[in-house]
């Protein structure tokens, strides 16, 4: 349960950025494993890529792209917040980051299942 003092947009943007970063860090070893297959073992790579025909894996890919998008936009939001002249539109930026992430992940999902 989210404690009462954390129920505001910027804290939620923070935790989304943190969790997406951790999830992507967990994914990285698998990413490098497949990259290694691409370089050294074509048969193993083909076998691995067959998994992507399954809908469940497609959905997992959607999740992955969502995490990437949410982390990218969250990072851009942070850089804008800390490196550009301050404005009171942080909450709008946070909302835009989430909306942009959904748009990118959603469009990827639609193109993957079509």
């Amino acid at each position: 349960m989210i404690r009462p003092h954390r129920k505001h947009t910027l804290w939620l943007a923070f935790i989304l950025h943190r969790i997406s970063g951790l999830a992507l860090a967990l994914f990285l070893p698998f990413h490098f494993l497949v990259l290694a297959y691409a370089l050294n073992d074509a048969a193993a790579l083909d076998g691995f890529l067959k998994w992507t025909d399954y809908r469940l894996v497609k959905f997992a890919e959607f999740g992955l792209v969502f995490l990437l998008a949410v982390h990218l936009f969250g990072g851009l939001r942070l850089m804008a917040l800390e490196w550009l002249p301050w404005s009171h539109s942080q909450k709008t930026l946070a909302a835009t980051a989430v909306a942009g992430s959904f748009a990118i992940a959603g469009s990827f999902f639609l193109s993957a299942v079509s």
């Binding site: 404690r3 009462p4 003092h5 954390r6 505001h8 947009t9 910027l10 804290w11 923070f14 942070l78 917040l81 800390e82 490196w83 301050w86 009171h88 942080q90």
Partner: protein
Amino acid sequence: MKHVAPGGSAQFENTLKVSVWRSDTDGYQTFLVPQQDSQTVLDIVTWIQQNDDPTLSYRFACRVGMCGSCAMMVNGEPRWTCRTHVSKVTQNGGLEIAPLRNLPVIKDLVVDMDPFFDKWVAAEGVFEPSLTRNDPIEVADPTTVQRQQADAAIECINCAVCYAACDSVAADPDYLGPAALNRAWSLVNDVRDAGGGPRLDAISGAGGCQNCHSMGSCAQYCPNDLNPTASIAGLKWETAKSWMKQGWLKW
């Protein structure tokens, strides 16, 4: 429906169920407090102490939102209790009142503010004059961007609401915290101040402004509508500029 307040003989039309943190039992004690119009959370605590349990300890002074001494956790959120209307924060017909988060508890609702003010000193939050009394007074032009940034950060009443709201403080007890850094930012922008170099060193070291994760809880809860997150972002930019000038460009 009428209730009888525990320990008191008076009867009241409407009562509020108030859970108050007690340090002797390390838990909450429930009181029934009569409800009144325009009642503040500080009124509630005062009523309990004056009518029900005189051993209850809490801290207040001005009761008009100037001194910054009456902040407490109200239903899990840090608030200045003298300016917080009960009608706006009551949940399920009750209140839960606890001492401020992130500070050691002395007794009941009273916290030790020493760590909070020690960090003001550690952040070089003291004005360092650039002139002596024999020099003519230096005019601070209120129309400059720098002065406006200093003014935007200067109205802090040291209530520690931001400090209690901050999860970075909770995670790292050495972190200077939003109030001290906000104070440093107001001095960084004060053209009359001469403490810039040491102050920048103080706020860029361990526990300094880079520990802020921009969660924004300080700005969310500041009762004076200050924005310490913005001040800390400004300090981050100043330290980055200083690093680029002193280190990175020479690299």
